[in-house]
Protein backbone atom coordinates (compact mmCIF):
# COMPACT_ATOMS: atom_id res chain seq x y z
CA UNK A 1 0.00 0.00 0.00
CA UNK A 2 1.58 3.26 -1.16
CA UNK A 3 0.56 6.20 1.02
CA UNK A 4 1.58 9.87 0.76
CA UNK A 5 4.22 9.05 3.38
CA UNK A 6 5.90 6.61 1.00
CA UNK A 7 5.78 9.04 -1.90
CA UNK A 8 7.35 11.68 0.34
CA UNK A 9 10.03 9.25 1.42
CA UNK A 10 10.89 8.48 -2.21
CA UNK A 11 11.08 12.21 -2.96
CA UNK A 12 13.31 12.79 0.06
CA UNK A 13 15.64 9.97 -0.98
CA UNK A 14 15.99 11.49 -4.42
CA UNK A 15 16.71 14.92 -2.95
CA UNK A 16 19.37 13.47 -0.63
CA UNK A 17 20.97 11.65 -3.56
CA UNK A 18 21.13 14.89 -5.55
CA UNK A 19 22.55 16.79 -2.55
CA UNK A 20 25.33 14.30 -1.94
CA UNK A 21 26.11 13.89 -5.64
CA UNK A 22 26.80 17.62 -5.62
CA UNK A 23 29.37 17.00 -2.89
CA UNK A 24 31.09 14.48 -5.14
CA UNK A 25 31.48 17.14 -7.81
CA UNK A 26 32.38 20.14 -5.68
CA UNK A 27 36.03 20.95 -4.99
CA UNK A 28 35.94 24.55 -3.79
CA UNK A 29 35.85 24.96 0.00
CA UNK A 30 33.53 27.95 0.01
CA UNK A 31 31.04 26.20 -2.26
CA UNK A 32 31.14 23.13 -0.03
CA UNK A 33 30.30 25.38 2.91
CA UNK A 34 27.27 26.78 1.09
CA UNK A 35 26.16 23.30 0.01
CA UNK A 36 26.13 22.08 3.63
CA UNK A 37 23.16 24.36 4.16
CA UNK A 38 21.35 22.40 1.47
CA UNK A 39 22.17 19.22 3.38
CA UNK A 40 20.82 20.72 6.61
CA UNK A 41 17.52 21.40 4.82
CA UNK A 42 17.36 17.74 3.77
CA UNK A 43 17.50 16.76 7.45
CA UNK A 44 14.52 19.05 8.15
CA UNK A 45 12.72 17.58 5.13
CA UNK A 46 12.76 14.07 6.62
CA UNK A 47 11.61 15.26 10.04
CA UNK A 48 8.80 17.29 8.46
CA UNK A 49 7.63 14.15 6.66
CA UNK A 50 6.44 12.68 9.97
CA UNK A 51 3.83 15.45 10.02
CA UNK A 52 2.76 15.52 13.67
CA UNK A 53 3.05 18.19 16.35
CA UNK A 54 6.06 16.30 17.68
CA UNK A 55 7.79 16.59 14.30
CA UNK A 56 7.09 20.31 14.30
CA UNK A 57 8.72 20.61 17.70
CA UNK A 58 11.73 18.57 16.53
CA UNK A 59 12.28 20.83 13.51
CA UNK A 60 13.27 23.76 15.74
CA UNK A 61 16.32 21.99 17.22
CA UNK A 62 17.24 20.74 13.74
CA UNK A 63 17.07 24.24 12.31
CA UNK A 64 19.12 25.78 15.11
CA UNK A 65 21.79 23.09 14.85
CA UNK A 66 22.19 23.83 11.15
CA UNK A 67 22.45 27.59 11.68
CA UNK A 68 24.93 27.38 14.53
CA UNK A 69 27.23 24.91 12.80
CA UNK A 70 27.24 27.00 9.64
CA UNK A 71 28.13 30.03 11.75
CA UNK A 72 31.09 28.33 13.44
CA UNK A 73 32.37 26.80 10.19
CA UNK A 74 32.15 30.12 8.37
CA UNK A 75 34.31 31.75 11.02
CA UNK A 76 36.85 28.91 10.78
CA UNK A 77 36.85 29.37 7.02
CA UNK A 78 37.69 33.06 7.39
CA UNK A 79 40.57 32.31 9.77
CA UNK A 80 41.81 29.45 7.61
CA UNK A 81 41.89 31.57 4.47
CA UNK A 82 43.34 34.52 6.36
CA UNK A 83 40.56 36.84 5.22
CA UNK A 84 40.63 39.99 7.32
CA UNK A 85 38.31 42.89 6.89
CA UNK A 86 40.35 45.97 6.32
CA UNK A 87 38.16 48.31 4.35
CA UNK A 88 36.32 51.09 6.12
CA UNK A 89 33.26 51.54 3.95
CA UNK A 90 30.04 49.65 4.60
CA UNK A 91 28.81 47.08 2.16
CA UNK A 92 26.86 49.37 -0.09
CA UNK A 93 26.72 53.13 0.10
CA UNK A 94 23.12 53.83 -0.81
CA UNK A 95 20.75 56.26 0.84
CA UNK A 96 18.08 53.59 1.38
CA UNK A 97 20.44 51.57 3.52
CA UNK A 98 20.78 54.48 5.94
CA UNK A 99 17.08 54.96 6.57
CA UNK A 100 15.39 51.65 5.89
CA UNK A 101 17.17 49.41 8.44
CA UNK A 102 15.87 51.33 11.46
CA UNK A 103 12.22 51.09 10.36
CA UNK A 104 12.40 47.47 9.21
CA UNK A 105 14.34 46.48 12.33
CA UNK A 106 11.75 48.17 14.55
CA UNK A 107 8.90 46.33 12.80
CA UNK A 108 10.66 42.99 13.07
CA UNK A 109 11.60 43.47 16.73
CA UNK A 110 8.07 44.52 17.72
CA UNK A 111 6.52 41.61 15.85
CA UNK A 112 9.11 39.30 17.42
CA UNK A 113 8.20 40.45 20.90
CA UNK A 114 4.49 39.95 20.14
CA UNK A 115 5.27 36.42 18.97
CA UNK A 116 7.61 35.84 21.93
CA UNK A 117 9.03 32.41 22.61
CA UNK A 118 11.37 30.69 20.21
CA UNK A 119 10.16 31.95 16.85
CA UNK A 120 9.77 35.44 18.29
CA UNK A 121 13.42 35.43 19.26
CA UNK A 122 14.39 34.47 15.75
CA UNK A 123 12.27 37.22 14.15
CA UNK A 124 13.43 39.93 16.57
CA UNK A 125 17.03 38.75 16.22
CA UNK A 126 16.72 39.08 12.46
CA UNK A 127 15.61 42.69 12.93
CA UNK A 128 18.63 43.44 15.11
CA UNK A 129 21.00 41.74 12.65
CA UNK A 130 19.58 43.92 9.94
CA UNK A 131 20.07 47.04 12.00
CA UNK A 132 23.59 46.29 13.20
CA UNK A 133 24.79 45.06 9.82
CA UNK A 134 24.05 48.31 8.05
CA UNK A 135 24.36 50.92 10.78
CA UNK A 136 27.56 51.93 12.46
CA UNK A 137 27.70 50.43 15.90
CA UNK A 138 29.85 50.62 18.96
CA UNK A 139 31.16 47.49 20.64
CA UNK A 140 27.85 46.07 21.81
CA UNK A 141 29.30 42.59 22.05
CA UNK A 142 29.66 42.59 25.84
CA UNK A 143 26.12 43.81 26.50
CA UNK A 144 24.52 41.30 24.15
CA UNK A 145 26.54 38.46 25.65
CA UNK A 146 25.54 39.45 29.18
CA UNK A 147 21.87 39.55 28.22
CA UNK A 148 22.19 36.18 26.56
CA UNK A 149 23.86 34.75 29.67
CA UNK A 150 21.02 35.88 31.96
CA UNK A 151 18.43 34.59 29.48
CA UNK A 152 20.18 31.21 29.51
CA UNK A 153 19.98 31.02 33.31
CA UNK A 154 16.29 31.98 33.24
CA UNK A 155 15.62 29.28 30.73
CA UNK A 156 17.43 26.55 32.65
CA UNK A 157 15.60 27.64 35.82
CA UNK A 158 12.29 27.23 33.97
CA UNK A 159 13.30 23.74 32.87
CA UNK A 160 13.94 22.66 36.45
CA UNK A 161 10.72 24.24 37.70
CA UNK A 162 8.84 22.07 35.19
CA UNK A 163 10.62 18.99 36.51
CA UNK A 164 10.68 19.60 40.25
CA UNK A 165 7.62 21.78 40.93
CA UNK A 166 5.21 20.88 38.12
CA UNK A 167 2.40 22.72 39.88
CA UNK A 168 4.19 26.01 39.13
CA UNK A 169 3.92 25.35 35.38
CA UNK A 170 2.54 28.83 34.69
CA UNK A 171 5.61 30.60 36.08
CA UNK A 172 7.83 28.18 34.17
CA UNK A 173 6.06 28.79 30.86
CA UNK A 174 6.47 32.54 31.30
CA UNK A 175 10.15 32.24 32.28
CA UNK A 176 10.86 29.87 29.40
CA UNK A 177 9.02 32.02 26.86
CA UNK A 178 10.79 35.20 27.97
CA UNK A 179 14.17 33.56 28.42
CA UNK A 180 14.22 31.88 25.07
CA UNK A 181 13.03 35.08 23.36
CA UNK A 182 15.98 37.02 24.80
CA UNK A 183 18.44 34.22 24.25
CA UNK A 184 17.70 33.50 20.61
CA UNK A 185 17.42 37.22 19.89
CA UNK A 186 20.79 37.93 21.51
CA UNK A 187 22.53 35.08 19.74
CA UNK A 188 21.14 36.12 16.38
CA UNK A 189 22.07 39.74 16.83
CA UNK A 190 25.71 38.75 17.49
CA UNK A 191 25.87 37.90 13.80
CA UNK A 192 25.01 41.53 13.12
CA UNK A 193 27.91 42.85 15.20
CA UNK A 194 30.30 40.52 13.43
CA UNK A 195 29.42 42.00 10.09
CA UNK A 196 30.70 45.50 10.75
CA UNK A 197 34.14 47.09 10.59
CA UNK A 198 36.63 45.59 13.01
CA UNK A 199 37.72 47.70 15.92
CA UNK A 200 35.07 50.41 15.55
Amino acid sequence: MITPFHIGLFAVSLCILVTFLSFLKEKDDLHKLILTDLAAIMALFIIALVGTDLAEALILPGLVVGISKLMALAEIYLVKEGIQQKKNSTVLDIEVLDTAPAILAAILVIYGIILSGFSGGAVAGLGIIFYLAFKKHDEKFELIETVSGYAWVTWIAAFFIFLIFPSQWFLAVMLAGGGILLKVMAKFSLIGTMRGDPGV
Partner: protein
Amino acid sequence: MIQVFDLNVEGRELFSLSFGDIVPYFSVYTGALAAFVIIFILIAIFSLPERQMNIAFGGDAYYAKEVNVPDMRFSRFMAIACGAATLGAMVTGDIFNFTLFAVMVGITNIGIVAASGNKHVLNAAFQYGIVAMLATVPLFGGAALILATTGSLSIWVLAGAGVVPLLAKALLVLGVMGEGIAPLYIGKAEIIRAQGAPYVLMIHFSSLLLFLRVIEIVLVI
Protein backbone atom coordinates in the same frame (compact mmCIF):
# COMPACT_ATOMS: atom_id res chain seq x y z
CA MET B 1 7.07 -7.62 26.14
CA ILE B 2 10.84 -7.49 26.49
CA GLN B 3 12.28 -4.88 28.82
CA VAL B 4 15.51 -2.98 28.18
CA PHE B 5 17.30 -4.61 31.07
CA ASP B 6 16.40 -8.16 30.04
CA LEU B 7 18.73 -7.83 27.08
CA ASN B 8 22.27 -9.18 27.30
CA VAL B 9 23.98 -5.97 26.18
CA GLU B 10 22.62 -3.83 28.96
CA GLY B 11 23.08 -5.68 32.21
CA ARG B 12 21.28 -4.73 35.41
CA GLU B 13 19.46 -1.46 35.87
CA LEU B 14 21.32 0.87 38.22
CA PHE B 15 18.95 3.81 38.15
CA SER B 16 17.04 6.11 35.81
CA LEU B 17 16.20 9.79 35.73
CA SER B 18 13.00 11.11 34.23
CA PHE B 19 12.79 14.35 32.27
CA GLY B 20 9.27 14.13 30.90
CA ASP B 21 9.33 12.05 27.73
CA ILE B 22 13.10 11.64 27.86
CA VAL B 23 14.18 9.06 30.43
CA PRO B 24 17.97 8.59 30.67
CA TYR B 25 19.01 5.29 32.19
CA PHE B 26 22.14 3.90 33.82
CA SER B 27 22.53 0.20 33.13
CA VAL B 28 25.80 -1.63 33.83
CA TYR B 29 26.84 -0.80 30.26
CA THR B 30 25.89 2.88 30.04
CA GLY B 31 26.89 3.43 33.67
CA ALA B 32 30.41 2.14 32.97
CA LEU B 33 30.71 4.39 29.91
CA ALA B 34 29.48 7.35 31.94
CA ALA B 35 32.08 6.66 34.65
CA PHE B 36 34.84 6.70 32.01
CA VAL B 37 33.59 10.04 30.69
CA ILE B 38 33.64 11.56 34.16
CA ILE B 39 37.25 10.42 34.68
CA PHE B 40 38.27 12.03 31.40
CA ILE B 41 36.43 15.27 32.17
CA LEU B 42 38.41 15.45 35.42
CA ILE B 43 41.65 14.83 33.48
CA ALA B 44 40.76 17.69 31.12
CA ILE B 45 40.01 19.99 34.05
CA PHE B 46 43.10 19.32 36.16
CA SER B 47 45.94 18.44 33.81
CA LEU B 48 48.39 21.01 32.47
CA PRO B 49 48.74 21.45 28.71
CA GLU B 50 51.68 19.85 26.92
CA ARG B 51 54.56 21.90 25.54
CA GLN B 52 55.29 20.76 22.01
CA MET B 53 58.96 20.54 21.06
CA ASN B 54 60.38 21.61 17.73
CA ILE B 55 63.63 19.90 16.83
CA ALA B 56 65.98 21.52 14.33
CA PHE B 57 67.23 18.90 11.91
CA GLY B 58 70.97 18.44 11.50
CA GLY B 59 71.81 19.73 14.95
CA ASP B 60 71.13 19.23 18.63
CA ALA B 61 68.97 22.32 18.93
CA TYR B 62 65.38 22.10 20.07
CA TYR B 63 62.95 24.62 21.45
CA ALA B 64 59.54 24.50 23.10
CA LYS B 65 56.58 26.13 21.40
CA GLU B 66 54.91 28.80 23.47
CA VAL B 67 51.58 27.98 25.06
CA ASN B 68 49.11 30.77 24.43
CA VAL B 69 47.07 31.07 27.63
CA PRO B 70 43.73 32.37 26.26
CA ASP B 71 43.81 29.79 23.46
CA MET B 72 44.55 27.08 25.99
CA ARG B 73 41.65 28.19 28.19
CA PHE B 74 39.37 28.11 25.18
CA SER B 75 40.41 24.56 24.25
CA ARG B 76 39.93 23.50 27.84
CA PHE B 77 36.42 24.97 27.90
CA MET B 78 35.61 23.14 24.66
CA ALA B 79 37.09 19.88 25.99
CA ILE B 80 34.90 20.09 29.09
CA ALA B 81 31.84 20.89 26.97
CA CYS B 82 32.72 17.91 24.78
CA GLY B 83 32.92 15.74 27.90
CA ALA B 84 29.52 16.94 29.05
CA ALA B 85 28.00 16.22 25.64
CA THR B 86 29.53 12.75 25.62
CA LEU B 87 28.17 12.10 29.10
CA GLY B 88 24.70 13.08 27.92
CA ALA B 89 24.96 10.86 24.85
CA MET B 90 26.02 7.91 27.01
CA VAL B 91 23.01 7.88 29.32
CA THR B 92 20.14 9.35 27.31
CA GLY B 93 17.16 7.11 26.74
CA ASP B 94 15.75 8.80 23.66
CA ILE B 95 16.92 8.49 20.05
CA PHE B 96 16.44 12.11 19.02
CA ASN B 97 18.08 13.32 22.19
CA PHE B 98 21.03 11.04 21.44
CA THR B 99 21.40 12.51 17.95
CA LEU B 100 21.43 16.03 19.40
CA PHE B 101 24.15 15.09 21.86
CA ALA B 102 26.12 13.49 19.01
CA VAL B 103 25.88 16.72 17.02
CA MET B 104 27.12 18.64 20.05
CA VAL B 105 30.11 16.28 20.34
CA GLY B 106 30.88 16.97 16.68
CA ILE B 107 30.84 20.73 17.06
CA THR B 108 32.87 20.77 20.29
CA ASN B 109 35.46 18.52 18.59
CA ILE B 110 35.98 21.26 16.01
CA GLY B 111 36.03 23.83 18.81
CA ILE B 112 38.91 22.11 20.62
CA VAL B 113 41.25 22.69 17.69
CA ALA B 114 39.66 25.87 16.31
CA ALA B 115 41.93 28.10 18.40
CA SER B 116 45.01 26.65 16.73
CA GLY B 117 46.96 29.00 14.48
CA ASN B 118 48.34 26.21 12.30
CA LYS B 119 46.91 26.39 8.75
CA HIS B 120 47.05 22.62 8.23
CA VAL B 121 45.16 21.98 11.44
CA LEU B 122 42.53 24.57 10.57
CA ASN B 123 42.09 23.16 7.08
CA ALA B 124 41.64 19.65 8.48
CA ALA B 125 39.23 20.99 11.09
CA PHE B 126 37.23 22.74 8.38
CA GLN B 127 36.98 19.60 6.23
CA TYR B 128 35.99 17.61 9.27
CA GLY B 129 33.43 20.28 10.15
CA ILE B 130 31.82 19.93 6.72
CA VAL B 131 31.45 16.17 7.31
CA ALA B 132 30.11 16.77 10.81
CA MET B 133 27.48 19.08 9.35
CA LEU B 134 26.58 16.58 6.60
CA ALA B 135 26.17 13.96 9.30
CA THR B 136 23.09 15.75 10.62
CA VAL B 137 21.22 14.41 7.58
CA PRO B 138 21.61 10.68 8.41
CA LEU B 139 21.34 11.34 12.16
CA PHE B 140 18.08 13.30 12.08
CA GLY B 141 16.91 11.21 9.14
CA GLY B 142 17.41 7.99 11.08
CA ALA B 143 15.63 9.38 14.13
CA ALA B 144 12.72 10.69 12.03
CA LEU B 145 12.37 7.34 10.23
CA ILE B 146 12.23 5.56 13.57
CA LEU B 147 9.53 7.97 14.76
CA ALA B 148 7.54 7.55 11.54
CA THR B 149 7.67 3.75 11.36
CA THR B 150 7.38 2.81 15.04
CA GLY B 151 5.59 5.81 16.51
CA SER B 152 8.07 6.25 19.32
CA LEU B 153 11.54 7.64 20.01
CA SER B 154 12.09 6.16 23.46
CA ILE B 155 14.66 3.35 23.68
CA TRP B 156 12.62 1.92 26.57
CA VAL B 157 9.63 1.38 24.28
CA LEU B 158 11.61 0.22 21.23
CA ALA B 159 13.84 -2.21 23.16
CA GLY B 160 13.61 -5.78 21.95
CA ALA B 161 10.58 -5.12 19.73
CA GLY B 162 12.67 -5.37 16.54
CA VAL B 163 10.37 -3.08 14.56
CA VAL B 164 12.97 -0.48 13.60
CA PRO B 165 13.79 -0.67 9.86
CA LEU B 166 17.34 -1.56 8.89
CA LEU B 167 17.67 1.68 6.91
CA ALA B 168 17.11 3.77 10.04
CA LYS B 169 19.75 1.81 11.96
CA ALA B 170 22.25 2.16 9.09
CA LEU B 171 21.59 5.90 8.95
CA LEU B 172 22.14 6.27 12.69
CA VAL B 173 25.49 4.46 12.55
CA LEU B 174 26.51 6.49 9.49
CA GLY B 175 25.58 9.70 11.27
CA VAL B 176 27.69 8.85 14.31
CA MET B 177 30.52 7.98 11.90
CA GLY B 178 30.29 11.50 10.54
CA GLU B 179 30.15 13.24 13.92
CA GLY B 180 32.78 11.15 15.64
CA ILE B 181 34.53 10.38 12.36
CA ALA B 182 36.15 7.32 13.94
CA PRO B 183 36.71 5.25 10.77
CA LEU B 184 37.80 8.25 8.72
CA TYR B 185 40.88 9.01 10.74
CA ILE B 186 42.66 10.92 8.00
CA GLY B 187 41.00 14.13 9.09
CA LYS B 188 41.85 13.52 12.70
CA ALA B 189 45.47 12.57 12.19
CA GLU B 190 45.99 16.04 10.81
CA ILE B 191 43.96 17.70 13.57
CA ILE B 192 46.25 16.17 16.20
CA ARG B 193 49.01 18.51 15.12
CA ALA B 194 47.22 21.13 17.21
CA GLN B 195 48.70 21.90 20.60
CA GLY B 196 47.31 20.78 23.91
CA ALA B 197 47.59 17.08 24.60
CA PRO B 198 44.92 16.52 27.25
CA TYR B 199 42.31 18.43 25.26
CA VAL B 200 42.98 16.85 21.88
CA LEU B 201 42.70 13.48 23.60
CA MET B 202 39.04 14.29 24.23
CA ILE B 203 38.36 14.17 20.45
CA HIS B 204 39.38 10.53 20.20
CA PHE B 205 37.79 9.61 23.45
CA SER B 206 34.38 11.10 22.65
CA SER B 207 34.19 9.48 19.22
CA LEU B 208 35.17 6.09 20.62
CA LEU B 209 32.47 6.28 23.29
CA LEU B 210 29.84 7.56 20.82
CA PHE B 211 30.55 4.47 18.76
CA LEU B 212 30.20 2.14 21.72
CA ARG B 213 26.88 3.76 22.56
CA VAL B 214 25.42 3.72 19.05
CA ILE B 215 26.27 0.03 18.75
CA GLU B 216 24.42 -0.59 22.00
CA ILE B 217 21.41 1.37 20.69
CA VAL B 218 21.37 -0.48 17.37
CA LEU B 219 21.56 -3.85 19.15
CA VAL B 220 18.82 -2.96 21.62
CA ILE B 221 16.18 -1.38 19.36
